[in-house]
Symmetry: C2
Subunit: 339 residues, 2 copies
């Protein structure tokens, strides 16, 4: 029975309600003996602090929302876990919703979170997200929204990997290997992340003589099925580049599998590289060259920024880019140019 109220506690402890309330909030001006008596009474009566009631007055709920597309991709799982950790550390509880990359679903989730009075929302936007519907939902309550890993608006905060640099690092590595041609496989077409990675790759390949045409590759879902589909589409056209650049490690897993279905061996018949560097990349055979994008750091940084934004809603929109790091492994390092 969550029926034990602060009033009951204060009565049992022989103090006023305001005193009990102050003890709860750790006020130091209350003498220790009184505070102890109050705490004892709370324990004995089985008192449970009701945050909803507190919220009615304080106008903050100590909850945050997180909407991501799909956590079966370990990259997003790591991101989610680090955000949860930072939120809890700051005393917030976290509502989580999975949009499954469906915009409508995402908007519904955003709406219910706003109704639940969240103090802020981390949004890893579904493809097709736009500012105006988001604002329509959010502006009425002035809930700050932070864009995670992908962005669709300059007016909202953003924290994500430095995709441009990541693309550049990877391209430079590949051209140094003597790769003659490379193709990007998969990834959600309209995402800022994919566009940035492409721009980075183009910049990195510039002047190296490596042929790289981003328009060849079709967009796919960001998972293994997308990778299989993407590489199948390329091979079925009779195209056979020296290097396959997966949009992400999740996509690369599908590329490995599809290559083998066709009796091709990744790392030998074609080099393969990717982005994210999830744990699995290193454990695959051959180990997968990947650009680490550090989801844990992105999560920590995002939490820090959103909390700052909650404190100061008038601050100008911020963008934060986390530096990537290339991890060279056998999937590219063992590959040799065809004679």
């Amino acid at each position: 029975m969550s029926k034990v109220t602060l009033e009951d506690v204060s009565r049992a402890a022989g103090v006023s309600r305001s005193t009990a309330s102050l003890v709860l909030r750790g006020n130091t001006r209350i003498p220790e003996s009184t505070a102890d008596r109050v705490r004892l009474a709370m324990a004995e009566l089985g008192y449970v602090y009701n945050r909803h009631a507190a919220n009615m007055r304080r106008r903050e709920s100590m909850t945050l929302g997180l909407i991501v597309t799909d956590i079966r991709n370990p990259y997003f799982a790591g991101l989610t876990m680090s955000i949860e950790e930072a939120a809890h550390q700051a005393g917030y509880n976290l509502f989580v919703g999975y949009s499954r990359d469906d915009v409508e679903r995402q908007y519904v989730q955003l709406e219910t979170m706003v109704q639940q009075q969240v103090d802020g929302v981390f949004l890893l936007p579904a493809t097709g997200s736009e500012l105006s519907p988001v604002c329509g939902i959010v502006d009425r309550s002035e809930v700050p929204v932070l864009q995670l890993a992908r962005y669709f608006s300059d007016e909202l905060d953003y924290v994500g990997p430095d995709n441009l640099l990541a693309g550049q690092q990877l391209a430079q590595h590949l051209s140094s290997l003597g790769v003659g041609s490379a193709i990007l496989i998969g990834g959600p077409e309209p995402s800022s992340a994919r566009a940035e990675r492409i721009r980075g790759l183009e910049a990195g390949f510039a002047g190296s003589g490596v042929s790289f045409d981003p328009s060849v590759s079709a967009a796919t879902t960001n998972n293994a099925a997308g990778g299989s589909e993407g590489i199948a589409g390329i091979l079925d056209q009779g195209i056979w580049p020296d290097c396959l650049i997966a949009y992400s490690d999740a996509v690369a897993l599908g590329i490995y599998a599809e290559l083998r279905r066709r009796n091709l061996e990744p790392g030998r018949d074609v080099s393969v590289a990717s982005f994210d560097d999830i744990t699995m990349a290193e454990l695959l055979l051959p180990p997968l060259t990947s650009v680490a994008t550090y989801p844990e750091r992105i999560g920590r940084e995002a939490a820090e920024l959103l909390l700052k934004r909650i404190r100061d809603p008038s601050m100008a929109p911020q963008r934060s880019h986390i530096s990537p790091a290339l991890k060279v492994r056998a999937s590219t390092a063992q590959w040799r140019p065809r004679p």
Copy 2:
């Protein structure tokens, strides 16, 4: 400004507050013309329904809590996503906490969820969970707790895989292959799931002549690192069984990697099998034999049960076991007895 209240709306629409409230809840006895006027006013004023305020009166928050250990394991990620889906479908928002298999952390998360007035909690218990601290936190508010995938008490509801049957199915498959000896690798020692899988394996191997001694294998964390560590411990003792049974696919991934570091090939030098059948199992080389335990079904079933429990707190504790299905793949099927 979540300052627009139902009173403002009713004033603007020229109706009473109770009428506006009834429109919100979809009452049909209100004439459509009136309802439309109210809805129009809500839209024009930018009204946001405040669930906290509603909760003060209705004594339900329309929120549920979910505490899992770690979603970087795709098995738990799938479980989490299916629970979120079912919760949203039923109109609930979901608080999520990751215990990282730390009991103390788990208790803190449980406590803050209770303070947030959750109507129920899904708990995938951290190793070392016990009934009395959980009850200490939960009983005061009478929040129902459902045990997910592992259990530590008969007094709480439970939904998880039928681990006994899963172990049996796998053992029978292995003995039919002519395996002479098998060892279980990894998994959290004190978990009900591990104990049940062992019992199932023992039952399945009984009378087959396959040597299987569960005491040989050390417990580990439920991830790739645990798998590598587990198999390393076995091989370093000079033990070399015909078959390695991983506690889970996540563990199996580490086994594959460690075997290869030692120039052993899974599926040829030793057969490997596992539990869970996450997407990756099929994509590995060699594809991994695994017993599917269907996290999506478990999640759906769990959500159904918890919602029923919320409606009827006096119901006797329920346990629900989801049937597994063996997926035979090359990691065992291609293995041949050593001469």
